[in-house]
């Protein structure tokens, strides 16, 4: 059996940062397992810019950001095993994997970092009625075809969902000569970053239909026509509002799901709100020595934040390997209150880890002029911050001094709205 001090599952931005940080913190015997033939993950197909402003203090494209980290990791003793699929992990930190050279592998680890990322929701997940022709893709699939494999997926395009990948693909398809007829969003607000509405839609006069959705798909062989309807406040289509679009392609940008099959196989506790593992502020999961970071934990907007979180996971994974680092047992649970859809971390260890911690969260509606408050069990306000704009599309964070939480088993994070 192969054994390593640390095994990192997934070689995207989270895995590369976690491995690099663990190495910098003293662990030299590290393996990254990646199922693709290169590391860098989704960054390889995100050829647009806007990455790296926080971490590298300059604006990079996705491939450049991946390359920087790949080069950093190349200068270490971290081993990378590509084209290898992990099939399962156990709470005892045994990893079962397979590849075409070595066949079936059992790998032992003192610590594991889970960094498998997320996947896209598909047509099946949102149950659009109608025919099942070719020409319906998730936006990320189309992005890979176009940017890496060199295939143009269509000429007349409608995009459902205003997530960032959908917006980026609206611009990308336009630049390559396609006509993007509309971006359709079921919610009354966009799910992408504001800057992407500006530079991907407004720059190219692509209309955004808020409170609309696709209600029918028509096509024999290839997509021919879709129907778009307005929805009411319960997201139910309003009869009589149908619009027909003559198009050959429908791209779906309707959400991302953390890919946690392996997490579940190890018996790790999952938070149904974030769809990722329940973690402490050191990124450790409910199974000792197993850490999680990046989009497998909760879906991020910015890779820079993935990097920061993963650096932290790598650092504490290193401490776990080198120092028999353990949780103190004196913890505070963070619960979500009004207008907050989830928090990460969900548990804060008051003794172990760092003296302060960031708590990341998302609001569940558009809020103008909100106050973020942290309250104790008895309603005492421990912390409050005003914020002019809060959007579900933009992850928020507050930094907490752990002293503030002393003596509280549970605190609640909410936003008045």
């Amino acid at each position: 059996m192969l054994t390593y001090d640390l095994v990192v599952i997934g070689g995207g931005p989270a895995g590369l940062a976690a491995a690099y940080s663990a190495y910098e913190n003293g662990v030299k015997n590290i393996l990254i397992i990646e199922r693709d033939d290169v590391t860098g993950g989704i960054l390889n197909q995100c050829i647009h810019n806007g990455f790296g402003l926080h971490y590298f203090k300059e604006e990079l494209t996705g491939p450049e950001y991946a390359q920087r980290f790949e080069d950093m990791v190349k200068g270490t003793t971290v081993e990378v095993m590509t084209q290898t699929m992990v099939l399962g992990i156990t709470p005892q930190k045994q990893i079962y994997a397979v590849n075409s050279q070595k066949g079936y592998l059992t790998i032992g680890a003192k610590a594991i970092v889970l960094s498998m990322g997320c996947r896209e929701r598909t047509r099946g997940a949102i149950a659009i009625p109608g025919d099942r022709p070719a020409g319906v893709f998730t936006a990320g699939t189309a992005q890979r075809y176009l940017n890496m494999e060199g295939y143009m997926v269509g000429k007349r395009v409608v995009i459902l969902g205003s997530g960032d990948i959908g917006l980026i693909m609206a611009r990308r398809m336009t630049l390559e000569g396609a006509k993007v007829l509309a971006v359709v969003e079921i919610m009354p607000y966009s799910n992408g970053l504001n800057r992407n509405i500006v530079q991907c839609l407004n720059d190219y006069d692509i209309p955004l239909y808020l409170s609309h959705t696709v209600t029918n798909i028509k096509g024999q062989g290839r997509l021919e026509e879709i129907t778009v309807s307005e929805v009411d406040e319960n997201r139910t289509p309003i009869p009589g509002t149908e619009m027909k679009f003559d198009c050959d392609t429908l791209l779906l940008s309707v959400g991302l799901i953390p890919e946690n099959e392996l997490t579940k196989s190890a018996g790790i506790q999952i938070d149904p709100r974030s769809n990722g593992a329940v973690v402490y502020d050191d990124m450790q999961t409910s199974v000792e020595g197993v850490f999680a970071c990046g989009n497998v934990l909760h879906v991020h907007d910015l890779v820079d934040f993935v990097t920061a979180e993963s650096m932290k996971a790598g650092k504490f994974a290193a401490r776990y390997v080198l120092e028999q680092y353990q949780h103190s047992g004196e913890t505070t649970a963070v619960k979500q209150g009004d207008c907050v859809s989830y928090t990460v971390p969900q548990q804060i260890d008051l003794q172990a880890g760092e003296e302060t911690t960031d708590v990341f969260f998302r609001v569940n509606r558009v809020i103008k002029g909100g106050t973020i408050t942290l309250t104790a069990e008895d309603g005492t306000v421990l912390l409050s911050r005003k914020k002019a704009h809060l959007l579900p599309a933009e992850m928020e964070k507050i930094n907490l001094k752990k002293d503030l939480l002393k003596g509280h088993e549970t605190v609640t994070l909410s936003v008045n709205c």
Binding site: N44, I47, H48, T61, G62, A66, L175, N194, R195
Partner: protein
């Protein structure tokens, strides 16, 4: 004249207000210097970085990701794309290699964004 803009310099997306008075511009709502420059440029001569791909021969992918090293005038985006789409590159390529110099006379080079 007053105009509300969303800054696209970084993902923070600051809400800018640009006010014109006798040909000079006053930017507010920005949280960095680059935001101020963006606000003024956007009113006078908007510019964008183009990120796209070119044909790659002999690499692990058939496409090489590229970008304009800095921003180019917004109205030249489609002309630049037409020029970039004529380029074929042979592997190996290093990140930062120039694949097309001075695209459309803008003085801006198109460079590779990944080793391939």
């Amino acid at each position: 004249m007053k105009k509300e803009l969303i800054c696209i310099v970084c993902p923070q997306g600051c809400r800018l207000t640009v006010e014109e008075k006798d040909g000079s511009y006053q930017v507010s709502g920005n949280t960095c210097k680059r935001g101020e420059a963006y606000g003024i440029n956007e009113m006078t001569a908007p510019r964008r970085v183009i990120t796209t791909t070119v044909k790659l021969e002999g690499g692990r992918c058939p496409r090489l990701p590229v970008k304009t090293r800095t921003d180019v005038p917004k109205e030249l985006i489609f002309d630049c794309m037409a020029k970039i789409n004529q380029v074929t590159v042979k592997a190996p390529v290093k990140m930062g290699d120039v694949v097309l110099a001075d695209v459309m006379g803008t003085g801006v080079d198109v460079i590779a964004t990944r080793d391939m």
